[in-house]
Symmetry: C2
Subunit: 318 residues, 2 copies
């Protein structure tokens, strides 16, 4: 039988690709959120992320929001490494019958998100395609000694998180008509995510973290990925999770609540590990919450006095 | 009437996009083959180029060749600025039913092209899409004073070209069944283009050129673009054009010959302008030919004693 992409899934494909690559021994590259390229005193973090109409764009999303989103997901990867956004590049495939106004609004959205985070659109490419497809590459400045890798978490470290959980998932259910409530904050969290650039740069420059990534694949999947990179386990505490109040009130049971806060992608918070002492220091300046502790093994959640395993599921493309 | 992308064409869309961008005043950026980012002593050239199955991939092209091609077109942009390839990033959209072997071969092709030109695959993204779509970003090292821009051609400069003309167009006609001849060199020129990296770096480091770009949109279109960037005209001489011998013998009339050498994309030679003196110096080391002279205005070709206008047509996506 011929093995197909859907049989091995997104992470299977990524592992396959990594096994084929024979780049130099770099400090950070494949498998991290950004590659690091060293220029002596300075260095850059580089990341690339793609948005496809049929997969990533919820119904009713406006072109300006799509543009914002395509930039924000890339900038979030820079933020998770502590890099300062410098330049953005986009390749866009589109149908020939796409209205020019649509492209105009799309680029305004990209430009607005770039300006918001101190970078600019420095280049791009356009092509015809069977659907709208935006591939972005973001470049940020960061010194080698400041770059926060995925690998580095130590047993006993605090697991910390910026912001709140669950709003993008709630927003998606509202857009899909599965929730009848209105919630502006949830829709905005989904359609116009605000990457944690300020937080990432602060944490990096002060050398406060042992590892970091963003939660774009959902919290549970991110915990699995971060733990795997460092060869450790993670235990979070349900009672410590910073769940948005609307998410608490609009979900009808614990199963739904857990789906929203653990297993849905589109969240762009920073998931961090750091010593207890550094966490105390960081939390004086930044809105970050302790949500658990790095353990020897296992990805678990403490809830109602019991420890339960967190499944490695979240958003994947196949 | 609603204006659509196909109504204004690829260059219309690009002009539209450039008008929306409000980046800083950079020495080279939008409108050049690469953006330049300055890090003091060092700098980088960055380019992004996309390959879509339905538009850019001729019938029968193997996955390994597609991978090579996706890297080569980006490296060619670096070469045209004199940048030394450093790292490559790819975002790939694919159908879930894509065989894993296909992806494997695709990445081997990308890896081979990267190694050939001294760089490596440093990162990427995968996504589901309605067709195979590869967006690549290449980063190369180049010092600010070495970067060869598109803008800079001066009236009286020699117009020079690396390599030979017409093979990729011949290869395409063979693959499409429009030519019954076999020609391995033509097929290879089309499917596995060899960017002029060595030539570009030499020309840049010796400061031999006043402007440069690659001929990926075809020679006529490239002459128009290069002339427009510098506000000059171009006059090439048909008798000086380095036409591949197979192209001469396999085309049945002058109209077809001109289509092959002037109006077909997929050629990755460097189109250069330089002083007569520098051309003499460069041609001692490199296989480059003088094909014309930079003029005040007009894009023309001298042929059989007459001057005729070269149409601004070539490969575009819409």
């Amino acid at each position: 039988m011929k093995l197909r992409v859907r049989d091995i899934g997104e992470f299977g494909i990524i592992d396959k690709i990594i096994s084929l690559i024979d780049g130099p021994e770099t400090p950070y590259g494949m498998g991290d959120d950004c590659a690091f390229l060293d220029f002596g005193k300075e260095g850059i973090a580089v990341t690339t992320d793609m948005v496809a109409e049929s997969t990533d764009i919820p119904p009713g999303m406006k072109p300006q929001e799509i543009g914002w989103y395509a930039v924000a997901i890339n900038i979030s990867d820079l933020a998770s490494k502590g890099a300062r956004p410098l330049a953005f590049f986009s390749s866009i495939a589109m149908l020939p019958e796409t209205p020019v106004n649509f492209i105009d609004a799309l680029y305004r959205g990209m430009r607005d998100c770039c300006s918001e985070y101190g970078c600019y659109i420095a280049g791009g490419d356009t092509s015809r395609g069977k659907e709208l497809m935006i591939s972005g590459t973001a470049i940020g400045r960061v010194r080698r000694e400041d770059f926060i890798p995925r690998k580095g978490a130590r047993v006993g470290d605090v697991i910390a998180l910026t912001g709140e959980l669950g709003l993008p998932a709630l927003g998606l259910d509202i857009l899909l008509g599965r929730k009848k409530k209105r919630c502006k904050r949830a829709i905005e969290a989904l359609l116009m995510p605000k990457p944690r650039v300020k937080e990432g740069i602060y944490l990096a420059e002060k050398h406060l973290c042992t590892s970091s990534m963003d939660t774009s694949d959902g919290l549970a999947s991110s915990l699995h990925q971060l733990a795997k990179a460092s060869g450790v386990g993670m235990e979070i505490d349900f009672d410590l999770l910073p769940i948005a109040k609307e998410v608490k009130s609009y979900t009808h049971d614990d199963e739904e609540l857990e789906r929203f806060i653990l297993y849905t992608g589109g969240e762009f918070e920073l998931l961090l590990t750091m010593s207890n002492e550094k966490f105390e220091e960081a939390s004086k300046k930044l809105n970050i919450k302790k949500i658990g502790i790095v353990k020897d093994a296992g990805i678990n959640m403490k809830k109602d006095g019991a420890i339960k395993e967190l499944k490695d599921k979240g958003y994947t493309h196949f």
